[in-house]
């Protein structure tokens, strides 16, 4: 293997290939940081460019795009309270309040450092133990996936402030939006109310960006008279980064949170079909549940940013695990990478490493190098990103809307997604006005299809019996965890309510 590592690096360590990785990472970062554009889009757009290249060069570019696109999303999350990608929704929870306190530089420092280390760990795991991990992931069938999705749904309570009732309603709405379009298994349309365009359902990106970006813009319009004061000037001065932006001793304090979030990201990444969009929310929710001071989450503490950013970068290596060792794509980006492999005449599958070892190891090398480029580019670009704060919001937001329209075309090449974007924007705005939390809706929307498809497939396998969901060991374990999670939150809620009433009475 050592020979292969050297061979892989030697294939990549030339000026031209390094330039491709650098260019890919840079372009990926831009796609990641612009709300409405995503890593998926960057890879889709650049895939044809790679046809004419050799496989090593082609993948150098694609890997750069993948790493960059998966990493740039925290920037708008921190600065504008807008998740740049589905993977950085949870980064807004504490990253934005931190920036509001004038600590944008710190939020960046945390994001960059944790992204780098989590990414690195996931790549090392990929190189060393991809095969056994992928084999283990194969144990996950419909029963197991259903149980995992259910467990993730119970995090609603820790992912939202205020009324639990409203959070649950929001999650149900998210599930409902996921139902729209052709049903899993039967393929006939549901909830389309006669509209042909709805039969494909809603895409993740328009839903996410609509809910967050458009509603944010409408909020800004509401506060129009307040924004004329250049209040952001203060933030810029304080956002200067000292050193790496985040003292080592503070990182040390986060070690358990970091390790836990990285493992969550890796695990979710390895399972085919779920990725960074779920991982960051699950990691955040778990970090909050495990924390000794859950009430401080959402006020701009390190823990929240660490959880989100460590987990979403750890999914990169995780997603590559089943792709490289078994030829199974873990998410949309890796599905495109799979297509890329085939177009370069490589047959993805269990023999890929054996037959094309040097190329696979050059992909590993590209992952390592892109991860390093990502850090360098982010630190170099830091001042520029923070400067974005000084652009008046009334210029920035309309341009973001235009870019979202471009993004809507990029996802599925149809205008309908742009209308969906607007529709979800209005919904998001109304929800903010009526104090319904947005995040449970996103969680319900992401997990809905997973939950339903696997429930129905499982029941097909078991001839309609629910028993295997409980008796299959892995699935049973996850269901037990689900029950425990609900019980604990109820107890916690009771306790805090009793404390409150005790305080009032006293």
């Amino acid at each position: 293997m050592f020979d292969l590592i050297i061979e892989g690096f030697s294939l990549v360590l030339n000026f031209h290939t390094m330039l491709l990785i650098l260019g890919g990472t840079l372009l990926g970062l831009m796609f990641g940081l612009i709300p409405g554009l995503s890593a998926t889009m960057a890879v889709a757009i650049c895939l044809p460019i790679t046809y004419g290249m050799g496989p090593v060069e082609g993948f150098a570019l694609l890997i750069g795009l993948y790493i960059g696109g998966s990493s740039g999303g925290f920037i708008p999350s921190v600065l504008l309270n807008l998740p740049g990608t589905p993977s950085s929704v949870a980064t807004t929870f504490d990253g934005y309040p931190m920036a509001q306190k004038g600590l944008a530089g710190r939020a960046f420092g945390i994001s960059i450092i944790t992204s780098f280390w989590a990414g690195l760990i996931s790549i090392i795991v990929l190189v060393l133990v991809a095969e056994p991990l992928a084999k283990f992931a194969l144990n996950f069938g419909p029963f197991e996936f259903f149980a995992v999705a259910l467990l993730a749904l119970t995090l609603i309570s820790s992912l939202s402030e205020g009324s639990l009732l409203k959070a649950l309603i929001a999650a149900l709405l998210g599930l409902t939006f996921a139902f729209v379009g052709s049903a899993p298994i039967d393929a006939y349309p549901r909830f389309t109310f006669g509209m042909n365009e709805l039969s494909a359902g809603f895409n993740m990106l328009p839903v996410l960006i609509g809910i967050f970006a458009i509603s944010e813009m409408l909020k800004i319009i509401e506060n129009k008279n307040k924004i004329s004061t250049p209040g952001s000037q203060l933030n810029i001065d304080q956002a200067k980064i000292k050193g790496l932006g985040w003292p080592l001793k503070d990182f040390w304090k986060q070690k358990w949170n970091f390790i836990r979030s990285t493992i969550i990201g890796l695990g979710i990444g390895i399972l085919p079909g779920i990725g960074g969009g779920t991982a960051n929310l699950v990691a955040y929710g778990t970090a909050k549940k495990q924390s000794k001071y859950p009430e401080k989450f959402g006020t701009g503490i390190d823990d929240g940013v660490v959880a989100s950013e460590a987990s979403n970068n750890a999914t990169i290596g995780g997603d590559m695990v089943p792709l490289i060792s078994l030829g199974i794509p873990g998410d949309t980006v890796t599905a495109m990478l799979l297509g890329g492999l085939m177009l370069h005449g490589l047959q993805p599958g269990p023999l890929l490493i054996e037959q094309n070892g040097p190329i696979v190891y050059s992909i590993y090398a590209a992952l390592f190098i892109a991860n390093i480029f990502m850090v360098i580019l982010l630190y170099l670009g830091m001042r520029g990103f923070v400067k974005m704060l000084s652009i008046e919001k009334y210029y920035l937001y309309p341009i973001i809307i235009a870019l979202c329209v471009v993004g809507a075309f990029g996802v599925n090449n149809r205008l309908f997604d742009a209308f969906a974007l607007l529709g979800f924007g209005i919904l998001g705005y109304l929800m903010v006005k009526t104090k319904f939390p947005l995040v449970p809706l996103i969680l319900g929307f992401i997990l809905g299809p997973l939950l339903e498809t696997n429930l129905r497939r499982g029941l097909q396998l078991s001839d309609g019996s629910f028993m295997p969901f409980v008796t299959e060991p892995i699935s049973g374990l996850f269901l037990l965890a689900t029950v425990l999670s609900i019980v604990f939150s109820v107890i916690k809620e009771r306790k805090s309510r009793m404390n409150k009433s005790a305080n009032i009475a006293g």
Partner: protein, 335 residues
């Protein structure tokens, strides 16, 4: 004023970064583009702008792969730019509908396969192949096959049929409900008078995953998509549904040889929206024919067990009609 300059500066810097990244990534590519200017010329110099190819399936599958390979050769032949867009959803009906609704100017074309027939027979779509201006077909996939795990008790079709007769409805077989493979299963059950437990597992790669994980006994899929797993000793095939043995896999027996008269071909066609100028379609068909006869193209698709087989628009139409009748009979028999 200062602020706006700042903004412009930021945008310009961003743009130059984008362009720099792109030109660097373009260096190594043999760009297929050669069209210049955006002005719309007559059909004689078609194409004057990028042609938008809609693939109504996701990346990483065989529809996407076959289209992209063909598109690369077509771009050379047509001396233009071809852009492949994946429009996923509803078993392909969304992308197919989108092409029907697009401008019939020759710059929107659908690349899909026989599922068009099944979608209209099952009323998933209210349109069919006859609603397109067909341009022809370049690739036929004859490697439809039943795949089992290497340690499976089934060694050939007969052992499978025997076992299925012994315990009807117990052997699990994967499908994507309402898709091409579903039809194959219905036909197989009908012909052999057996009953399987048909379980929806999803797309081709999800089927592979389910078989690897041992969650299912048999998957029907293209042999070309799972060759790697057969070579690695994970999977075995029970035969292919072609008339004769495949040139690329001479050891694999056909279903017919094993006494099951089941033949299926998956053909990948190209279709323009109705009212597209005839000259444009003709030019495209001609290019498709040349590509199909190109030895380099044939060599490139060979390892995927695909056949380069040109069907002219007329031949394709007839083939569609004939296949529709067959499928219809199969579905009626199953109900």
């Amino acid at each position: 004023m200062k602020k706006s300059f700042k903004l412009v500066a930021v945008i310009l810097v961003a743009l130059s970064m984008l362009l720099a990244a792109c030109s660097s990534s373009n260096e190594g590519s043999t760009s297929t583009s050669s069209s210049s200017g955006n002005s719309d010329g007559g059909e004689s110099n078609y194409p004057t702008k990028p042609i938008n190819i809609i693939v109504p399936a996701g990346a990483g599958g065989d529809t996407d792969r076959n289209t992209r390979i063909t598109a690369e050769y077509l771009a050379e032949e047509l001396d233009g730019n071809l852009v492949v867009s994946n429009v996923n959803g509803s078993g392909g009906t969304v992308g197919a509908q989108q092409v029907l609704d697009a401008d019939p100017d020759g710059y929107n074309v659908l690349a899909f396969h026989n599922s068009t027939i099944i979608n209209s027979l099952l009323e998933l779509a209210d349109f069919g192949f006859e609603d397109y201006q067909l341009a022809g077909s370049a690739i036929t996939d004859l490697s439809n096959s039943f795949i089992v795990n290497a340690d499976s008790e089934f060694t050939d079709l007969q052992s499978l049929i025997d076992a299925a007769k012994e315990k009807p409805g117990e052997i699990t077989i994967a499908t994507e409900t309402g898709a091409f493979t579903h039809l194959q299963l219905l036909a197989f059950q009908n012909l052999t008078d057996t009953e399987f437990k048909i379980v929806d597992v999803g797309s081709a790669s999800e089927k592979t995953t389910a078989l690897l994980g041992g969650q299912i006994d048999i998957i029907p899929t293209q042999l070309g998509l799972v060759q790697e797993y057969i070579e690695s000793g994970d999977f075995r095939t029970l035969g292919v549904m072609s008339e004769e043995r495949l040139a690329g896999a001479p050891d694999v027996p056909t279903f017919v040889e094993q006494g099951v008269d089941l033949k299926f071909d998956k053909f990948f066609y190209w279709g323009f929206p109705k009212d597209t100028p005839q000259e444009v379609v003709d030019k495209f068909s001609k290019a498709l024919e040349i590509v199909t006869n190109n030895p380099e193209f044939q060599k490139e698709i060979e390892p995927h067990l695909l056949n380069a087989n040109y069907l002219s628009p007329e031949e394709l139409f007839e083939h569609f009609e004939k296949t529709t009748e067959e499928y219809k009979a199969l579905l009626d028999a199953a109900q």
